[in-house]
Amino acid sequence: MRYAYLVLFFFLVTAISVLGFRGSTTTRPPLEIFPDMDHQAKYKPQAESAFFADKRTDRPSPAGSVAFGRTAIQSDGNFLAADDHMYRGTQADGTYARGFPSSITVDGKLLERGQLKYTIYCAPCHGAIGDGNGITKQYGMGATPTYHDERLRNIPEGDIYHTITAGKNNMLSYADKLEPADRWAVVAYVRALQRAQTGTVADVPSSHKSELGLK
């Protein structure tokens, strides 16, 4: 009988040493004991396809296809992204437009949206206050400019919009991450950052002066 217990103990020790404990990291894929309907013949986003030669389930758009606006069914301003100011930041003569497109209202809500998106997508390089000293500067991104110089203070809004959409030199496009309306929100926030750097005591509304200890 003693041998039987020894054998059992031996099996226990080998089992534990082979299987390990819960939560230990492993590079082996999880075992599927009954893979019933875990893998169905359907395509999921970013999955691998056995059919297409490049194995991509998400098909790239064919050359020459035209971008559709969001509400393509009605022919409104979004139809085929027809509004040049809204979608390309340009005006009729092809130069960059000043000001915001008519469908965008610049208010506190827009700026909050812009701040959120700016913090996520721009601050790593341009810094929280737009001085170009984001965290990446110390790792070798020397080219990131500050927004607070004469040229960038005076460029049209449409130009900033175009920089986000298409990129500029070392800065690549953010069009895949920001929808046109969000891009305009970011433009508004960039303008707010620039304004903040040139603020004076005279800009503080009189009702808030006492909070800041001003007269």
Partner: protein, 218 residues
């Protein structure tokens, strides 16, 4: 006749029964311990084509999860980033690192980097990221402390019982949606305050996570 078996044999049936009982309980304990996603999935950390480090990018550099997983708020699927997302920085930082060769190759050719998928809901389960993220369920509840992982590993079991644990008592987990990507955030007032604030969110936003089968198996 009477001398054929020694006296000790009289105890043998009992000893065998005890032994079988012990073996059976060890096997049962082994199955409950091992045959569950808590063992089979948790800890899965495949070798990726590029040794991407979340602790560096999301932790140390402080990048928001949405910089790379940019669709997580908008769509059911949380995307793994395109090569261009990496090139935003890596066209100027570590431009000739051999570790980044697959990313540069992908950026040039347009073919995706073959990242290995870690978290996987079975195809018969409907899961949607944006619903959870918009309602203030943080990434940390389902993926663990990604911002401290050098290599991403599967941190939670993602089993049906685990999903339901939260769906039954969402007030224990929901927080202000502004804080979902702040994985270090815990309610400063502790568990009691979390539940109190959670109850308020659940009431104000009418949060009703599905517990019926058709909610997740549609």
């Amino acid at each position: 006749m009477s001398k054929l078996f020694p006296k000790s044999v009289n105890k043998l049936p009992l000893q065998i029964l005890i032994f079988i009982g012990l073996t059976a309980s060890i096997v049962a304990a082994g199955i409950t311990y091992y045959a569950t996603p808590k063992y089979s999935r948790v800890g899965y950390a495949p070798v990726q084509p590029v040794p991407f480090n979340h602790a560096l990018h999301a932790g140390h550099l402080g990048m928001d999860c949405r910089y790379c997983h940019s669709n997580v708020e908008k769509s059911g699927h949380s995307n793994v980033p395109t090569a261009q997302t990496c090139m935003n920085c890596h066209n100027q930082i570590k431009t000739d690192s051999p570790l980044l060769a697959p990313v540069r190759e992908s950026y040039a050719s347009g073919n995706p980097v073959p990242w290995v998928k870690i978290h996987k809901a079975p195809d018969y389960v409907y899961f949607n990221h944006s619903v959870h993220v918009a309602r203030g369920v943080s990434c940390v509840e389902c993926h663990g402390k990604i911002n401290e992982m050098e290599v991403v590993h599967h941190a939670k079991p993602l089993s049906m019982g685990w999903c339901l644990e939260c769906h039954r008592e969402p007030e224990k987990f929901v927080r202000d949606p502004k804080l979902v990507t702040n994985l270090d955030w815990k309610h400063p007032g502790g568990t009691a305050a979390q539940i109190e604030e959670g109850k308020k969110f659940v009431h104000d936003w009418n949060i009703q996570p599905p517990q019926s089968c058709s909610g997740c198996h549609r």
